[in-house]
């Protein structure tokens, strides 16, 4: 008997057991399994074996041999889950490896980033702002002080000049003026030194800014690694040299300084 005929006959026999709900369920399961088998069969060598098993299962159902059918169903279920599990297993493995690689490569640093390093960097930059402001304020205060002093000393000098040219002591020149000149003279080197020392922020802030720049470069590298490990395809384009490229792009639109601004102003009739 040819397979077609055999199946036709078996299909007719199937009518007898149609009422059985569990069989209907099985039928559905078999259809699923069959699909799965075909799908897997393309890849797996045991395709023919599966087909044979499916036929046997169908036969058992048709003949009302529930016991045999159940065995096949269990077999298929196991087969299905095995594949499913092996797929899930593969994915899990891959994920595990990725995470492992990720941890080995970047994790120690990355773990610290949000918790420590970034807030630290923010604090550091905040410190830079404070430090520079403090230095600027100290410097400006001293400059203001001496600009004020200079105004007064100029007046005193004028008076002294009068003393020499007119050979008389001007009424409003007295010993207090001399004391003032002495004071200012004494303060000047001290204040100049303080202005000088106030510039020490440059060194300290420079170092901190360098560290923050390094941190940003590290973050960039690590983000690229994350993208690579987790398979996000990066657009292939010439790799920018860190921050330098964006700076170059910016500079194209930048005027080099006041003279170029003046050129633009001139074009507009200024």
């Amino acid at each position: 008997m040819s397979i077609q005929k055999k199946e036709k006959q078996e299909a007719e026999n199937l009518e007898c057991v149609k009422d059985n709900n569990s069989l209907l369920e099985m039928e559905k399961a078999i259809a699923l399994i069959f699909n799965k088998a075909v799908e897997e069969g393309n890849k797996i060598n045991g395709f023919l074996g599966i087909v044979e098993d499916v036929q046997a299962l169908l036969k058992a159902i048709i003949q009302g041999d529930i016991e045999t059918a159940e065995k096949y169903v269990i077999k298929f279920t196991n087969l299905g889950s095995k594949d499913l599990f092996s797929e899930v297993g593969k994915i899990t493995r891959k994920l595990h490896d990725s995470i492992q690689e990720f941890q080995e490569n970047i994790s120690p640093r990355l773990k610290n980033l949000p918790m420590n390093e970034l807030p630290e960097a923010t604090d550091k930059l905040q410190w830079v702002i404070e430090k520079t402001e403090e230095a600027a304020s100290r410097t400006i205060s001293l400059v203001e002080k001496h600009l004020g002093c200079q105004e007064k000393t100029s007046k005193i000098i004028n008076q002294i000049e009068k003393y020499f040219t007119e050979n008389r002591i001007p009424a409003d020149l007295n010993e207090k003026d001399l004391a003032y000149l002495k004071d200012v003279n004494q303060d000047l080197p001290k204040d100049l030194m303080e202005i000088l020392i106030a510039q020490d922020f440059q060194d300290l802030t420079g170092q901190i800014i360098k560290k923050v720049i390094q941190l940003i470069a590290d973050i960039e590298n690590q983000l690229v690694k994350i993208l690579q490990i987790f398979g996000v395809k990066l657009e292939s384009r010439p790799k920018p040299e860190g921050l330098a490229l964006s700076q170059n792009i910016k500079q194209e639109h930048m005027v080099s300084g006041q003279s170029e601004v003046d050129d633009i102003l001139q074009q507009f009739g200024f």
Partner: protein, 130 residues
């Protein structure tokens, strides 16, 4: 130019305001007031008589260019000389400021010499116009 003129210096950094203020004092201007952003500047401008504005561009609340727009669209204030002093060095920015009606443009960092030169240019131009 009138040394008694009242100048409003607008910058969100105290340091910068102090520097500009001192430079102006060196140039002989004594009557100087400060504002820390465009908004504060605008309310000062509306409540008091000023003769000159020196403003930064980047500031919170209201930027220098927004302040300039407000000044130019205000009937009372629109003729006020406005000098932009900013680190904004893009050509587009300079042109934007010019189109909005700035009287001159200085890039930070700048020298006392540049400030003097630009202020004089503004006065010359204004004298020529009137």
């Amino acid at each position: 130019m009138d040394q008694k003129m009242k100048i409003l210096v607008v910058d969100d950094f105290t340091t910068m305001r102090r520097i500009v203020k001192n430079l102006l004092k060196q140039l002989g201007y004594e009557n100087i007031d400060e504002a820390e952003d465009g908004q504060q500047a605008l309310s000062k401008l509306k409540n008091d008589k000023y003769h000159f504005i020196i403003s930064d561009w980047n500031m919170p609340n209201m930027t220098g260019i927004e302040l300039l727009q407000q000044v130019r669209s205000d009937l009372e204030l629109k003729a006020l000389p406005f000098l932009m002093v900013t680190a904004e060095a893009e050509k587009e920015r300079v042109i934007e400021a010019i189109k909005t009606g700035v009287n001159n443009y200085i890039i930070k960092p700048f020298t006392a010499e540049i400030l003097k030169d630009k202020m004089e240019k503004i006065f010359e131009k204004m004298a020529g116009k009137s």
